[in-house]
Amino acid sequence: MRTVIKSSTGQLRLNDKSDDFYKLHLKEGIRPDGRMLMEMRPMVLNVGSISTASGSSLVKVGNTTVVCGIKAELTEPNASHPGKGIVVPNVELSPLCSPKFKPGPPCDQAQVVTKFLDNLIQSTNLICLDDLCVENDKLVWILYCDLICIDYDGNIVDASVISLMAALQNVKLPEVKINEECESVEVNLKCTATLKLCSCPVSTTFRVFDRSNIIADPTSMEEELTEGQLTIVTDQQGRIIYMERPGGVTLQEEHVEKCMKRAVIRGAEVQTLYMEVTG
């Protein structure tokens, strides 16, 4: 559905980046792409399409597209955690996906999302790291989780969390043993096991426009116009397990409450999507 609002200056273009244009829409309770304020964009999820990765997924949230590929390799454990495997997320916002990003080292936003995923993995005990240990102090699995954004149209956090979770559910690890007699590593590629995940988080992101309006699942243009973000992560039981609010304008309590309720509903929707795709 396309909405064109007439103003005194005549017809405004859909991709007009001015505040006024957006305010005119909000008065009618609708957004330029035809969504209600709390409406999410349609989502597409696909798993296991990349055969070179141990687990992979592709997520589309509206136009935003993220591909997550997980590569499992063997390495020596950290000296401080000799019996634990290693999980390293990395979000790539390359210049390919939007003119906003420049070539070279990862931009601030990519670092923020990477750190967010890392915090989420560690604070929710997402993956049992003891399961990733092959031999104490000698050999553990390392999961390189690389998320590549192919099309950036806002709300990279939600797309990243969903694609990371779907890819983790898709991971297949071959059986590895250490032969103690000759101290060599033996790999049985035919015998594979899936990862045990302790929880299955879904994140929902909201942004604050003009201090009073809360919008869910912002597009790239809306991200530029709004100030302040709120990300709520729920698990499969509908509990809130992580919340992030990196600065921005102040928020009223009732707004936060409204966002939480919306996040729980959306969480349940995405959980069924996970089940459909992986189950």
Binding site: T52, G69, K71, P89, L96, P105, Q111, D118, I150, D153
Partner: protein, 276 residues
Amino acid sequence: MATDSRRLAVPQSSLDPKSLCPAKVERLLNDEEQRLDGRYSSESRGIYLQCGTVSQAKGSCYCELGNTKVVCSVYGPKDVEHYEDFQMEGKIKCEFKYAPFSCSKHRGHIPDLSEAEISDVILQALTASVRLQCYPKSLIEVFIIVLENDGSAVSASITAASLALADAGIEQYDIVTSASVRVYGNGNFLEDPTSVEEYRPQDFDSESGGDLNHGLVTVALLPTLNQVCAVLSNGHLECDVLVETIQMCTSLAQNLYTAARKCLLSSVKSVDQNNA
């Protein structure tokens, strides 16, 4: 190894579990002249091309060649940076990257030498077709990422890049199509090789004893003008074998023209429908 403070720390090295399995000595052709994936030597894989995959880019293209998956997006023409000299001709910048999970071993995030070399080959192929004199003082940026590499990623990238340029409305003399052929000993030409079939320097010693032809040739072609705009040859090939291989690549690339044309036409049609 250089550490990067902007990314999470990773161990210095790790091992691909597949590399620990005892390597089988495989022949690429069996007695019935069939390849490992069941194709005959003169059989190409299916190609899928789609323009307009990246909504934020001026032009973009997704290419799938068997299991090989490539995304290319084009930005520009835009102003060159102020410190660069005035130029009557436009400039193309090309960046080619393998995704970390696209190959059998995990790849680093910083582009390595082989990726820089491939960027250069693609740039050469594109420069031949783009009408750079139409874009003075401007820069056209081409970004390519390989999501999965199952051989012939360079050819797929060149075709995708040219279609993305066309999708962005950049003036070109012709689109560029590209194809690869693996020469596997005397008289064996494997069209459109997979990653297992691609040439490795060690193949030359182990398989042939030194007097056979082994190599991988990639050719980029302007199909309607029938001109070759880039050739990349790896390995040991005799002169007349190379000529024969280039001819073979040329006819393969020529065959792609219909698919490329169809892809462009359907992208124009879908834009038309959206506007209606």
